[in-house]
């Protein structure tokens, strides 16, 4: 992008001022005002139909504002050419929308190509981005979307949104359609990515857990209106009304640590996560892709060996899983949550296995943290 088409190097502030959007007689967004600070991750949270996606799409002008203004760094978004504005803003949607007729490289490199970058520059940028989203470039750069699992596609979608180095990312339920454990894995990756990138991110979700896990601040919307904008703690301590307290209540129910055992908060184990030690990594990759997961537990007969992650398998496709499985903490269902939390924190692992005689469930470190807030 030529420098004159680069509208902002850095987001100082986005000011949404008294914005309204109507579709016929339906008011999708009504007099919403909120400020987004540069560098923060702001969550737009609410039930479906609350106007959160419409609000998001008014920022890059996929939807035009009826009343009010949106200012990015004090410039009205309507003063920009919409096409150029969108080149300055990354956008990720739940359906991902990777183009099926293009390879990973072509998908990520499409806008750079239209902007006239050289092939070398595109390749090196694409490789950097693949590294960033934990996909080995050699394995993935020439694949087509249909050869990728859902989680891999979503990572590519994120890489594509970042290709122009836009300081602002808009994300619309990017992890909404994924398997629950995979969703947590990606959230985990996304949190560390976010630290690295230091971008301003506006993130739409209807998942309160996700909101509490990822958000710096959370804006809760209902029927097109902003109900409350606050940090997690403020929401818990000072809910603006019953609607908010109902929403955050579900998050509080796990507050009494001492009474809780691991059994209460573990995710029950689904058969799809079970792999056998004498399988090759290649067959495990296929199975994971089919099941749309990226994490597995390796057993030898009924005996627990360890765990595997999809991205570690690609470099060793001929090896047996028994050689690739790595240890993670193991707990008994009856153990106390507090103890488990400390162990996982020390081991720096976000996944633990719950076993009686055979694996019974999966324990996620952040599951604990977010539920305990």
């Amino acid at each position: 992008m030529t420098s004159s088409n680069r509208f902002f190097e850095k987001i100082n502030e986005i000011k949404i001022d008294n914005v309204t959007k109507r579709y016929g007689s339906v008011t999708a967004v009504q007099n919403v005002s909120l400020d987004i600070q540069g560098g923060e991750l702001l969550i737009l949270l609410g039930p479906s139909g609350c106007g959160k996606t419409t609000l998001l799409r008014m920022i890059n002008r996929l939807v035009e504002i009826d009343e009010g203004t949106i200012l990015i760094n004090e410039q009205d978004v309507r003063d920009f050419d919409p096409v150029l504005l969108r080149k300055n803003i990354g956008y990720v949607i739940q359906q991902i929308g990777l183009f099926p007729h293009m390879t990973v490289r072509e998908n990520i490199g499409l806008v750079p190509k239209l902007e006239g970058w050289t092939e070398d520059k595109i390749s090196s940028k694409v490789r950097d981005l693949l590294e960033l989203v934990s996909l080995p470039p050699d394995q993935f750069i020439n694949r087509r979307p249909k050869q990728l699992s859902g989680g891999q596609q979503q990572r590519i979608g994120l890489a594509r949104a970042m290709v122009m180095d836009s300081p602002l990312l808009l994300m619309d339920e990017p992890f909404g359609a994924l398997d629950p454990i995979l969703r947590k894995q990606l959230q985990e990756e996304f949190i560390s990515l976010k630290e690295k990138l230091q971008r301003t991110i506006i993130f739409v979700t209807h998942d309160i857990e996700e909101a509490f896990r990822l958000g710096d601040r959370i804006a809760i919307l209902k029927d097109g209106q902003l109900v409350q904008l606050a940090t997690k703690n403020e929401l818990l301590v000072n809910p603006a009304n019953d609607f908010i307290s109902d929403i955050v209540e579900s998050e509080k129910k796990f507050r009494h640590l001492d009474n809780l055992t691991i059994k209460d908060i573990m995710l029950p184990l689904d058969e799809k996560y079970i792999f056998q030690a004498n399988q090759t990594a290649e067959s495990a990759i296929d199975k994971m892709r089919e099941a749309e997961i990226e994490f597995g537990i390796v057993l030898e007969g009924q005996h627990y060996i360890g765990t595997i992650k999809l991205n570690q398998l690609y470099a060793n496709i001929d090896k047996l899983l028994s050689n690739l499985a790595s240890e993670v903490p193991v707990f008994k269902p009856g153990e106390s949550v507090t103890v488990a939390m400390n162990i996982m924190k020390k081991a720096n692992n976000f996944i633990g296995i719950v076993m009686e005689n055979r694996p019974e469930g999966i324990l996620l470190a952040n599951e604990l943290l977010t539920r305990l807030v």
């Binding site: 890059n60 996929l62 096409v83 150029l84 504005l85 969108r86 080149k87 300055n88 956008y91 949607i93 359906q95 991902i96 929308g97 990777l98 183009f99 099926p100 007729h101 499409l110 806008v111 239209l114 249909k146 979608g157 594509r160 808009l170």
Partner: protein, 208 residues
């Protein structure tokens, strides 16, 4: 009998003639059909009228179409080619138009959100994703064209319609049978090539 008919009626040379007529007609059909399809995509309010007009042409029986064209273009090669082109524009134009229109919303939304202009979306997203649909239209056109060009034998257009015509005049059922079967086999062969191309395009540009 087959060898005899084949030799006497010069079916090798007629087949080459026939296929080259089909090929030339298809070049025009594809060029005109896709152009009309893209044009209609750009002027959607005209799509109803134009597609209906093409539909009307297609409802005219092939034979009648040939007869209508004869006063203007005489007999032989010219009216036959024009008839086969007119006849087959509809499936290509319609499939191009529908293929461009029905591209899945998620691809359009992400293309727009990336900052692609409508023209860039047309060339980089819509047209590639419409290719399987366009290929399906071309396949229909191939079958139509084979038929119309065979019929052109009636008005001395050349190709495999000629021997059929001869057979009818001479009451020679051997000629009719051999040539007829051969045209049938040829149509199936050409169509399976079309189907193969359609499959390849589907694998490359299809949705799943």
């Amino acid at each position: 009998m087959i060898v005899q008919v084949w030799k006497n009626q010069q079916l090798t040379i007629k087949t080459i003639e026939h296929l080259s007529m089909v090929f030339v007609a298809l070049l025009f059909i594809i060029a005109i059909g896709i152009t009309i399809g893209i044009f209609l995509y750009n002027k959607k309010n005209l799509s109803g009228i134009v597609l209906n007009l093409l539909n009307v042409i297609e409802t005219i029986p092939e034979l009648v179409l040939l007869v209508i064209l004869m006063p203007f273009f005489g007999i032989g090669y010219k009216p036959t080619m024009i008839a086969s082109i007119l006849y087959s524009i509809l499936p290509v134009a319609r499939n191009t138009y529908v293929g461009l229109i029905q591209v899945d919303k998620q691809y359009l939304e992400s293309a727009r959100a990336m900052g692609l202009q409508e023209r860039e979306i047309l060339w980089n997203i819509r047209i590639p994703l419409a290719l399987p649909m366009i290929a399906a239209g071309i396949r229909i056109a191939i079958v139509f064209t084979m038929g119309v060009i065979t019929l052109g034998g009636l008005i001395a257009a050349g190709g495999l319609g000629g021997p059929i015509q001869t057979g009818i005049h001479l009451y020679d059922k051997d000629i009719i049978l051999v040539t007829g079967l051969w045209i049938g086999i040829l149509a199936v062969l050409v169509d399976s090539i079309g189907s193969l191309i359609e499959k390849i395009l589907n694998r490359k540009y299809g949705y799943d």
